[in-house]
Every structure is written in C-alpha cells, then in structure tokens.
C-alpha cells in the first residue's frame, strides 16, 4: 500500500540530500517527492509517497526521525487527507483534433496554458488517479512531454 508521509524539516542546506540519501542507502523507494516552505519560514514540508509493501513503513519513518534536521513526521491516513498534484502536459493537437482535446480538458477542468500551431500545453490538478486518467485519455493524440510536481498532501480538519 502507498503511504503518504508529511515530513517537517529544518530549512538547512543539504536536508533534501540527507533524506534522498537515506532512502537510497536503506533501499527504500520514493514514488514521489514534493518540497516547499511550510507555515513557518524556517521549516520546509516534504511530502513523500512510498510503497509500504517493499519496506515496513515504520522502519522508513524511524530512520527518517534519526536525521537531526527532521522535526516531525506524519504518516497521513488515506481516509482523512486531501492530496493534490499538478501536471503540465504537452499534447499534439492539430486541426480538428484540437476541439476534441479541449473537450477532454474541460471535463477534467484542465487549463490550456499554451498553444501553437501543432501542440497544446495543458495544466491539470488533482489526485494521482485523475492525472493518470487524463493522461491515458490524451495518449492517442500524442503526448509530447509530461511534467509533474509530485503529490502534496494535508490531513483533514485540525489534526
């Protein structure tokens, strides 16, 4: 099962290297990783998704806790979290196909952020399954490039 870890870290040089290095050294996998400033400018929040089948997730969190710059870790409850990921996607869309792509984009509430004669760049936000469904639908048109931010996640309510 996929685990979503929300890791609060001190914003110190090398902190991301320490985390990535730990995953590599212990043989843990990273499905996605997203980093940014938190509510406190001295702290960053990292969202890591990792497959708990391959390695017991508590071994991952305990090893992460040993890093001096890691302040707090939450293994978010999938039943009680909100997740989002942003994907930019370049699709070939010439002539008549353009309308078709636009129609799909509308259903997925994707925005067209760039356009030229031969292709279209779309921006879509959602959870992983929505992004993948969107990409699968557009694949027949010719997906030229995909860029994803990785999942960010937050617990529901105050907790």
């Amino acid at each position: 099962m996929m685990h979503t870890l929300s890791v609060l870290v001190e914003d110190k040089p090398g902190v991301l290297t320490r985390i990535a290095g730990l995953f590599a050294r212990r043989g843990f996998n990273i499905a996605s990783l997203a980093v940014g400033e938190s509510e406190d400018p001295d702290l960053s929040r990292i969202t890591i998704t990792s497959d708990g089948e391959a390695h017991p997730i508590d071994q991952v969190t305990k090893q992460l806790h040993k890093l001096i710059n890691v302040v707090k870790i939450r293994d978010l409850d999938p039943e009680s979290m909100v997740t989002a990921e942003l994907m930019l996607m370049k699709v070939s869309a010439e002539g008549a196909k353009r309308a078709e792509v636009m129609q799909i984009a509308e259903i997925f509430r994707a925005k067209i952020v760039d356009l030229d004669k031969r292709c279209m760049t779309l921006r879509v936000v959602g959870d992983v399954s929505k992004l993948e469904a969107f990409r699968d639908l557009l694949r027949p048109f010719g997906v030229l490039e995909v860029v994803r931010t990785g999942t960010v996640a937050i617990g529901r309510g105050r907790g």
Binding site: G14, G21, P56, D58, Q59, K62, Q63, H65, K66, I68
Partner: protein, 569 residues
C-alpha cells in the same frame, strides 16, 4: 571576545572539554594549526596518516567514554578519514571530525584539494555541518559534541571553508542547544518495563543478551544486578565484551559466529531473550528464522529504528539502557520472585559450558595463536585494555582473554576495519595512560597502519603491539579453506618485513617469539620497557578459528563446536 574563526575552533574545543586532538596538517587547516600553538588545555597528537587520526580518536573515545576529536585538511585529508568515520558510525562511537575546506567562493569549481566532504561522508555520519559563516563556529561545535555524545552516539563531521577560519567573529560560548528535531528518548515506557518484569518473573529459561549499548550507557552495574537478581545467564556481543565480567558464573561469553557454544545453545533454547543495547546483527543471529525460536523477545535500545529492524520483539522498550535496567530491577524487586525457577536452566547452561569449552592443540615446535592470547590474559592479570585489529586474532582475543570491565575491550565490530588496531591502541593509551594497553593484531592488518609507530614513539605512548603472525590474511584464508576448496587466492603474505627490525627502525622495542616458552618473558619485557613495543609472535600458519557458524546458518550449527571452552580459572 573578538577573534578569528580558527581561534574560535580551538576555544570551542577547549570549552567542550576536549583534551586531545588527533590530526594531520594541510593547506586548508593552517589557520587552525596556527591557533593550536596557543591552545591552553588541549594537546595535539600528530599522526602519520589521517586514517591514524580518526582511529586514534575512536580508540580514545572507546577507552574513556568521551568524545574523540580528529582534524584533517580538505580533499585527500578528508577522504582519508572516511573509513574511520564509517567505523565509528557502525559501532556508535562519539566522534567529532573537523575538516578544512577550500575557500567558500571556490566551492564547486573543482579547486585544488576540493572534495565534497559532507557529501562523501553523508551515509556514515550521525550528522554533519558545512560551516557557512565564522560566527556559527561556536554553536556548530557545541551542537556537534552534543549530537556525537548523546542518544545513540556517532560521528559528526564539521567541514570548515578556510574563509571562515580566517573570518573575524565575536566569540561567545553558546549557552544552550536548540535542536528541535533531536530529542533522544531516555526513559523507558513504564508499562512496557512492568510487562518485562512480569514476563521475567515467569520465565524459567531466560537469557540476557548484552551489546555495546550497555557499555555506552554505563549500565554494566545494573546488568550484573539484574542477572543475579533473576538469576539469568548473560551472553554478550563483540561490542558488549566487558559489559559483564567473564569470570562470573552467569557469564556465557560471546554469542554468534565465533561465539561460545554454550551461549549459542542457550539463546536457541531460552524461553525469554532480553536484548539490551544490541542490534541483532547477522554475525550474532545467523539465520534469523532459526534465532531464539522459543523465546519471547524483549528489545531495549535507545534507537527506535533498531527495534523491529531485524527481529520483531514481543516487548520493545526505547530508552537508555541504564535507566531502563534500573527501573526494571525495581519492578522485579517488587515481585515475589521464585529464584529457584531458573536453577535447572542455569545447571543446563553450566553443563554446556563444561562440555563445549574452547580448546586447541599444543604441538611441539610450534606456537599456538590461542596460547599467545592466553598468556597475554595471564601476564596482564585480565586487567589490560585490549585493542584488536580485525581477523582471526580478533576472534581469538574474544575467546581466550577474560574481560572484566567495560571499555576494556576495543575492537572494530560493525565495519570490521583492518588497520584499526594500532592507531586505536595509541588513542586508548593516551586516554588511559594508567593502564597497560595491548594491541593484538595480525600481520596483515598491522601493515595497513604501521606508520603510526612513529606517532607512538614521537608522543611517547608505550603501547604493546602483539602481532599474531601467521603469514596469511588468516580469516580470509580460513574461509578459502572451509568454503573455497583450499584455493588460497592471494591470502599468503609470507613475504613481509622482519617486524622486530622494523620496530627497531621506528625507534620502538622489537621482539620476536617463536616458541611457547618465550611468550611470557617477551610480554613482561614489553610491558616493563615502558616503550612502544612490537612483538612478532610467529604462530602456526594454518590454524582456524573454531567454533564457527557458516554465514547465514542456524547458530547452533557450529563447525568445530565440540572443542571445548576454556576452563574457568
């Protein structure tokens, strides 16, 4: 007080109580060396290779319990420390390694003697710092000592660009520590401790399994009290040797690959196994699924990540071993304990010990390596600090010397670093000048760091180096003998210097011993000389270490397991 960063480094180290710094100069640490000339309370020991500095700091830390400190320049100086840093990391030794770095504005340009020291050492440090301004130095050094020496200890690297060694700053000793992400759990959970006490009260076949954490936390007294209170036998790991006196009737000795048969049998047959400050290393457990199959397992460790890493315990307790054991003793005292319940078990363990003692053959005209260790034990009255290198001699040193007190046995456990012995012995002797320090090493390992004999002579550190010389890389040869059809690929190192003459050339006392009746006299001469001494013990070449559990096997499946344990003297 206004000063340069380099002066702040020296002032900060002295403020932390650092008495000795092991180092080797280079271009990017000249300012620190310059400031060291004005050090007030700190001694600098000049080594002859940076690896010697880090191992010496490590040996000093193990012998004293204090934080060991070493210093090297950027680039190759720093990379030469890496083995020793990894060694300290694997054995949880408190160490601060300070490295010079090139000018801050040149970092990333592949400048002369530039290496990404914090990057290279990242997987083998507890923490590291790349200093970014001179004013940070006192805080960084204060934090580094705190991190290295508390919780589960480990090495901390401080990489200082020369820019900030030269930078002017206002020195003020930091008053407190602000590390929001670092708060080791020291007190064990009381409910868990009670559960252990109750289970131990019921257990008829308990075994205590003590690791290096007992020594680190200073819990040897509590361990002995617990063992006698229950009463329960005690098996120790390599890192735990000395945590429990080996002449105590409850001592099972070391367990694992080259451990006592009795210890391995006891672990296999026990109904309850209490691991204290130990990590279920593969050299201890052998095949995990066959390890302690009947036992309720309790795991007491200060590092939560160790719990459940290799073995899932029934009752985990995160905390400092000394605190937890002290509390556990209180809880057990409040129970009505039937002390006779383990009597049959203790008798069984004693029977195994009598039946499966360590043993070897005396052959006329040859010198048995085991005999050399026995004589070192006898001549030093089981009361020397014994430092070892890595290999067969190391295992014989665990088997044939009787360790009595914590920090008496110093050895590279986790990383298995050949070349550790001599520099670590120098560090240990500097830390414990009152004790006889014997470095038991092989002819292979000795040659990896033998340049440190100069350090011993120059700094007047009278260590006794006992080379158990079999002309082979003996442990590898043993594996080739047992598992590789005796194809001794490149393990014969019989072409070697005359070690006694070599010692003489270094300015040490050099002795050669070829017969059993010369061993005692040579040892007494060496110890009495108060000089760094090398004794070349020319031992039987193809002696193997027994018993032996082949890697990955059940620990009761021991080759040579029927040869006996040493007799209690």
């Amino acid at each position: 007080m206004k000063m340069k960063g380099s002066q702040a480094v020296v002032a900060s180290l002295e403020a932390e109580g650092c008495e000795v710094l092991f180092g080797f100069p280079g271009g990017m640490v000249i300012p620190i060396y310059d400031a060291l000339l004005d050090a007030k309370t700190m001694r600098h020991v000049l080594v002859r290779h940076e690896q010697g500095a880090v191992h010496a700091a490590d040996g000093y830390a193990r012998a004293t319990g204090k934080v060991g400190v070493c210093l090297a320049t950027s680039g190759p100086g720093a990379t030469n420390l890496v083995t020793g840093i990894a060694n300290a990391y694997m054995d949880s030794i408190p160490l601060v390694a300070i490295t010079g770095q090139i000018r801050a504005d040149l970092i990333g340009t592949d400048a002369f003697q530039e290496a990404d020291t914090t990057g290279i050492t990242l997987p083998v440090v507890k923490h590291s710092y790349l200093v970014t301004k001179a004013a940070d130095l006192p805080r960084v050094i204060h934090e580094a000592f705190h991190i290295a020496g508390t919780g589960r200890p480990g090495p901390v690297v401080i990489d200082i660009p020369i820019t900030f060694e030269l930078g002017e700053m206002n020195y003020q000793r930091p008053a407190d520590i602000d590390l929001p992400g670092y708060k080791p759990t020291l007190q064990g959970h009381i409910k868990q401790i009670r559960a252990v006490a109750e289970a131990l009260g019921q257990s008829e076949r308990p075994v205590l399994y003590a690791g290096g954490g007992v020594i680190t936390s200073g819990a040897a007294v509590e361990l002995a009290e617990l063992a006698h209170l229950l009463p329960a036998p005690v098996a120790t790991t390599l890192m735990g040797l000395g945590a429990f006196p080996e002449r105590d009737p409850l001592a099972l000795g070391m367990l694992g690959m080259h451990g006592n048969v009795a210890a391995n049998y006891a672990v296999h047959e026990c109904d309850m196994l209490v691991a204290v400050g130990a990590r279920f290393d593969d050299r201890v457990t052998g095949k995990l699924t066959a390890f302690a199959p009947q036992a309720k397992i309790v795991h007491i460790d200060i590092d939560p990540a160790e719990i459940g890493k290799n073995v899932q315990p029934l009752i985990p307790i995160v905390g400092d071993a000394r605190n937890v054991l002290a509390r556990l003793i209180e809880e057990i005292k409040s129970l009505e304990l039937d002390r006779g319940r383990t009597a049959a078990w203790l008798a069984k363990c004693a029977e195994w010990e009598a039946k499966f003692a360590f043993g070897y053959e005396h052959e006329p005209g040859t010198l048995a390596p085991q005999f050399v260790i026995e004589e070192i034990d006898r001549v030093t009255g089981s009361d020397a600090v014994v430092v070892t290198d890595v290999g067969q001699h190391q295992m014989w040193a665990t088997q044939y010397y009787h360790y009595q007190w914590p920090r008496q046995f110093i050895s590279s456990g986790g990383l298995g670093t050949m070349g550790f012995g001599l520099p670590a012995a120098i560090g240990a002797k500097i830390g414990r000048p009152d004790m006889t320090v014997v470095d038991i090493c092989g002819d292979g390992g000795f040659q990896l760091t033998m340049q440190e004999l100069t350090t011993a002579v120059c700094e007047d550190v009278p260590v006794v180096v006992a080379i158990v010389n079999n002309g082979f890389l003996g442990m590898v040869r043993q594996w080739q003998d047992l598992f590789w059809n005796k194809r001794y690929a490149h393990t014969c190192i019989a072409t070697q210097p005359d070690f006694a003459k070599l010692a003489d050339a270094f300015g040490c006392l050099g002795l050669t011993v070829t017969a059993e009746d010369q061993v005692e006299e040579a040892l007494r001469t060496a110890i009495g000389s108060q000089r760094p001494t090398v004794i070349d013990f020319k031992v039987r070449q193809e002696e193997n270490v027994f018993p032996m559990v082949p890697a990955g096997q059940d620990i009761t499946e021991m080759i040579g397991g029927t040869s006996g344990r040493r007799k209690r003297t």
